[in-house]
Symmetry: C2
Subunit: 202 residues, 2 copies
């Protein structure tokens, strides 16, 4: 293999992927440079060649995970309003192995984020952006008569995020109970209850 420069950023992404793998099945408590290195069959010296410190390595992996999450292939966003919100939340739920791994990593990162002010602020910003990307759809839904006039789109966005992430956590710990069908049924019932008029039963 040539030491051809230019694919340096590609190597850094390879390393980040190895970080994700370790993170997804050992958590932050089990994340060591040696575990990452052996996971990709290299030495720890190689890791330090691409990242100055472990903290930088983790930070890059998390930022890249966030970018990849934003750019990942998603299901169609068919319409505006509640249907669009439904598609967004479906893309968050751990319905595929990839989404499960992603969610596991984020949930695990909360331990660090709660203890570190900088990471905690970043997490808070992520939530703010997520809510901000949701509330326009709720505004459109209200304008289209899908929501009561009295509904507050921003608060409802926070509620939708709360429901979704709370469901994510339960599903991660008990995937047998929270099958894909159960998660979708819960989401649909939740959206129906939020909506102006519901057919609550499924």
């Amino acid at each position: 293999m040539p030491p051809a420069p230019g694919d340096r950023e590609a190597r850094r992404e390879d390393v980040s992927q190895a970080v994700w793998e370790v993170l997804a099945d050992r958590g932050f408590g089990g994340l060591t440079l040696r575990a990452v290195a052996t996971s990709m069959g290299v030495s720890t010296g190689m890791l330090m060649h691409y990242f100055p410190t472990k903290r930088a390595l983790v930070a890059h992996a998390l930022h890249l995970l966030e970018t990849r999450t934003a750019q990942r292939p998603r299901r169609e966003r068919p319409t505006e309003g509640i249907a669009a919100l439904r598609a967004m939340l479906l893309d968050i739920l751990p319905l595929t192995p990839g989404d499960t791994a992603r969610n596991r990593i984020w949930v695990s990162s909360w331990d660090l984020a709660l203890a570190d002010d900088g990471l905690g602020a970043e997490q808070a910003d992520r939530y703010t952006r997520l809510r901000a990307s949701i509330s326009p759809h709720l505004e459109a839904a209200r304008a289209a008569g899908e929501l009561p006039e009295s509904a507050d789109p921003e608060q409802l966005a926070a509620t939708a995020v709360a429901f979704t992430h709370g469901l994510v956590v339960q599903a991660l710990f008990d995937p047998a109970r929270f099958t894909e069908a159960v998660q979708i049924a819960m989401l649909d019932d939740f959206l129906a209850s939020i909506s102006d008029r519901s057919g609550q039963g499924r």
Copy 2:
């Protein structure tokens, strides 16, 4: 100080409380025996005198936290049905410093629990018990006409838990935005939306 035996379990609880303190502001990543020891002004040898291993120490602290959580003073459970559910969920939300610390510790523990099968199963059981303690109230609510006939109490219990814990996480990371008033308003609107007929606006 006398080596009077008999208050041995009391000492173990003292240690567990020190564990909680370290956990609440450094997380599991910052939980070391030395940190616990200096937090209570003793030596690490003393810790090992009461617990054979760190794992046992943590396990006892978490079990005790669960017990204390179950037995903590709670607000009145006024009636049956939705009002009772409201009181239960209010007791979970991080509205007091004590509840905030408790929630921080549980959220932090998810990193460990997701990586350790035994702890993961315990967490899943906790969720199952929580849902089981909620669904009777939802059954009563349905019988009393507070919920649509088509509502599924068990699924609705999972939805209520999801909403509540998702709100907990957001509130932990952004307490300035999720004040007590905001959390209560969100909870009330959520309960109104799942109820049979709502006055959605507060």
